[in-house]
């Protein structure tokens, strides 16, 4: 029957495939963000993000002050470990030209308790984040390939990083770029004198002990934080601590948006289903005679419904397969539209979840658009259907009513969708119109890294910028590090994890400059 009406079949399959394609595309991002396990890390559901916050601005994390982190680490009993990380610019020199990488200064035991192992060499030793420890580094797979040509002898080599001789102790596995897009790690050798209480800038990650709940860990860290506040009221009054599952914290900014878009896309798919249902209903009416004959021969309604449903299930499954193909293309399109590198743990490629989703939504859709027309078609007025030149029209007043209500449902769905899209558009435009203090159309930003070893003077950035930018064709530059005080990674609220990230490296700074016109 499907083969005999190729036009109908093609249109229905196309409608279903478009709906499933869009839904599967969106689902693959939900899968990437929310469902799929993060690569390489063990016991991920026990990992927690820990951060201090200002009680007057409780839904934003402030970051963690170094001495407070040390206090937690010393006293906490509910965690297997707690690590702090600060992202920083690392410049590897010594080759033809210096190479610049984003990396992290991280507590020595971090990777060990996260359960990730190097593919070559070793992780940091616990004592290597002491202030006087010899400088060592772990390199990511990309650096190992690009800088060392994948040579196993890279481990043990000493290379100049940020002007200091650093020994490479290990190579991390391919795809490991913790926390987001880092390629190199050095132990967090930090001096409390330079990073006193009251400077909140570290990202912390901990792992809850087996059998301990996150609530218990939260209660303990709360207590420690409260104790610190009593002890150091001038810096820590009104400071609390957030303990959130690590995954949840990482997706905080996009979760709602992604789910919203998924909802919208499902609406579109529902409209597609309603359309196919309508086509099937119309076709059921033209088949009234055939169905009448079958019923006259003693087919039960169940048998007729099953036969008709089998056809819509074929439609649904072919739609699924085609939708998957469309989704491959859709995901490509979506990824290429992302403005920045995505964090290392986000993978949009299809796994069994995406396949089952496509298959499942295909099956559910078949029922959705097939059941009503099948039920409708399975009880014609038998005698009428079998009459000579029996009517092959609309399937009676009842059929008309069903089809009218389908059209109404479609219009309602489309309306809701339009309103939603309109509202989203408006908040997007408002966002675009927000005055951020500079005219973004003629503003450039860039980062310059000034390694401490070569530029020990704290005034170095100011001196560097005032001397270097003078000759550039820019009308004005803020020749000061922006922002001056280290600020937080996720305070940049746009759903772009690794962009607009203010450098927290003391001697590296980011500066907006205005183009000369």
């Amino acid at each position: 029957m499907l083969v005999k009406t190729p036009g109908f079949t093609a249109i229905s399959i196309l409608a279903v495939a478009l709906g499933i394609g869009a839904s599967t595309t969106m689902f693959s991002s939900i899968n990437a963000l929310l469902l799929r396990p993060m690569p390489l890390m063990q016991d991920q559901d026990r990992l927690v993000a820990v951060s201090q916050f200002f009680q007057k601005n409780a839904d934003q994390n402030a970051g963690t002050a170094f001495p407070d982190y040390l206090e937690w680490k010393k006293n906490v009993t509910t965690l297997d470990g707690i690590a702090a990380i600060q992202e920083a610019t690392f410049i590897i020199s010594g080759g033809d030209k210096p190479e610049r990488y984003l990396g992290g200064q991280i507590s020595a035991d971090a990777f060990a308790f996260m359960g990730v192992q190097p593919i070559l060499g070793r992780l940091f030793r616990p004592e290597e984040d002491q202030l006087n420890a010899a400088p060592v580094a772990l390199i990511g797979y990309d650096i190992w390939q690009n800088h060392f040509g994948g040579d196993r002898a890279a481990v043990g080599q000493t290379i100049p990083i940020n002007g200091k001789q650093v020994t490479i102790v290990g190579v991390m596995p391919k795809g490991w770029r913790f926390p987001e897009v880092c390629d190199l790690w050095m132990p967090l050798q930090m001096d409390e004198k330079d990073h006193p209480r009251g400077m909140f800038f570290l990202d912390c990650i901990g792992k809850v002990k087996k059998g301990v709940s996150i609530e218990q860990a939260r209660a303990e860290l709360d207590a420690i934080t409260a104790r610190i506040a009593v002890q150091y009221p001038e810096t820590n009054t009104g400071i609390g601590v957030h303990v959130t599952p690590f995954r949840e914290e990482m997706v905080r900014n996009f979760k709602t948006l992604t789910l919203l878009v998924m909802g919208a896309v499902l609406f579109v798919h529902l409209i597609a289903c309603a359309n196919v249902a309508n086509l099937l209903l119309a076709r059921g009416a033209t088949r009234a005679k055939e169905i009448g004959i079958r019923l006259a021969l003693g087919a039960s309604r169940l048998q007729i419904v099953r036969q008709l449903l089998a056809e819509s299930i074929v439609l649904g499954l072919v739609g699924s397969a085609l939708g998957l193909l469309l989704a491959v293309w859709g995901v490509d399109l979506m990824v290429s539209a992302l403005p920045n590198e995505v964090p290392f743990w986000i993978h949009f490629d299809f796994d069994w979840r995406v396949f089952s989703f496509a298959l499942g939504i295909g099956a559910v859709s078949s029922l959705l658009f097939g059941l009503l027309p099948a039920l409708q078609a399975s009880h014609p007025r038998l005698v009428d259907a079998l009459k000579e030149g029996g009517r092959t029209g609309s399937g009676g007043a009842k059929g008309q009513r069903v089809r009218n209500s389908l059209v109404i449902a479609e219009v309602a769905l489309a309306l809701v969708l339009l309103i939603g899209a309109g509202l989203m558009m408006r908040s997007f435009m408002n966002l675009q119109k927000t005055d951020i203090g500079v005219d973004p159309s003629s503003t450039l930003t860039f980062r310059v890294g000034l390694p401490e070893a070569q530029f020990p003077d704290k005034e170095a950035p100011r001196a560097f910028s005032s001397s270097s930018f003078r000759s550039w064709p820019i009308s004005r530059a803020w020749n000061r590090p922006v922002p001056r005080r280290p600020c937080r990674l996720r305070e940049t609220s746009a759903p772009r994890p690794s962009c607009l990230k203010a450098s927290r490296n003391r001697n590296s700074f980011r500066t907006p400059a205005r183009c000369a016109r």
Partner: protein, 246 residues
């Protein structure tokens, strides 16, 4: 639940009239309501058909012949009166129960053949057996036997569109026969055929009757009405004449 109902009702119509009565209609009426206009298609039909009879129903157009046949065939329900088939009251059965009885006890032959165009001759004849839940190998035996009886065994793989009208009607007869129903109902089976093909189909029915089949046929054609051993005349929804052939 359904069988219970049948049994209860069967108990209320003990033995009906005469133990070999296959069909017993008592005061059956049918009223159609269209746009608030009542059409009395049948107004009190009393009728008995015994196993092995060949009954023809005649009468002017609009007198209710087709309506009577569709009630006999459980395609429609009477507005009033009682209908017992093989001693079981079937006038007000549920849709699934009627479907089951249609499938087992009744073979239809329509004026316009009503074969399904997408299915082969074999599959068309197989259909009632499939719906009965019969296994594939049993089905094959029944289908081939029925096709042989109507002389269409060599055309099993053809599509209906590849057959002449007379051949199509013979396939339709085979389909009606295949499930070995208690009664064959035919509504002007020759209406869409030329006289030669019509004669052939009529000869076939006569042959089936000779072999023991119970047949109830609607026909305008007095010539064909003679084939039957009993002719019933309807007028305005009533039986006005019930005559055995000489």
């Amino acid at each position: 639940m359904a069988t219970e109902t049948i049994n209860e009702q069967a108990a209320r119509t003990p033995g009906a009239n005469g133990s070999n009565s296959l069909i017993h209609l008592d005061g059956v009426t049918k009223v159609f309501l269209t746009d608030e206009v009542e059409t009395h298609a049948l107004s009190g039909i009393h009728l008995d058909i015994r196993t092995g009879e060949y009954v023809s129903i005649a009468g002017p157009s609009g007198c209710g012949k087709s309506t009577l046949l569709s009630i006999l065939g459980l395609l429609d329900t009477p507005s009033g009166g009682s209908y017992s088939l093989k001693g079981t009251e079937v006038a007000n059965l549920s849709f699934p129960d009627r479907a089951r009885i249609r499938n087992r006890e009744i073979g239809f032959i329509f004026q316009s053949f009503n074969l399904i165009g997408d299915l082969t001759v074999f599959e068309n004849v197989e259909l009632p057996l499939t719906y009965r839940g019969m296994g594939a190998s049993d089905r094959k035996g029944f289908v081939l036997e029925a096709l042989e009886r109507v002389g269409m065994g060599h055309r099993a793989k053809h599509l209906p569109s590849q057959l002449s009208g007379g051949q199509q009607q013979r396939v339709a007869v085979a389909r009606a026969l295949a499930g070995k129903p208690a009664i064959l109902l035919a509504d002007e089976p020759t209406g869409n055929l030329d006289s030669r093909n019509g004669d052939a189909v009529m000869a076939l029915l006569k042959e089936l009757h000779a072999g023991g089949a119970t047949i109830c046929m609607v026909t305008h054609d007095t010539r064909f009405a003679e084939h039957a051993d009993r002719t019933i005349h309807l007028f305005d929804g009533r039986v006005v004449e019930d005559r055995m052939a000489a």
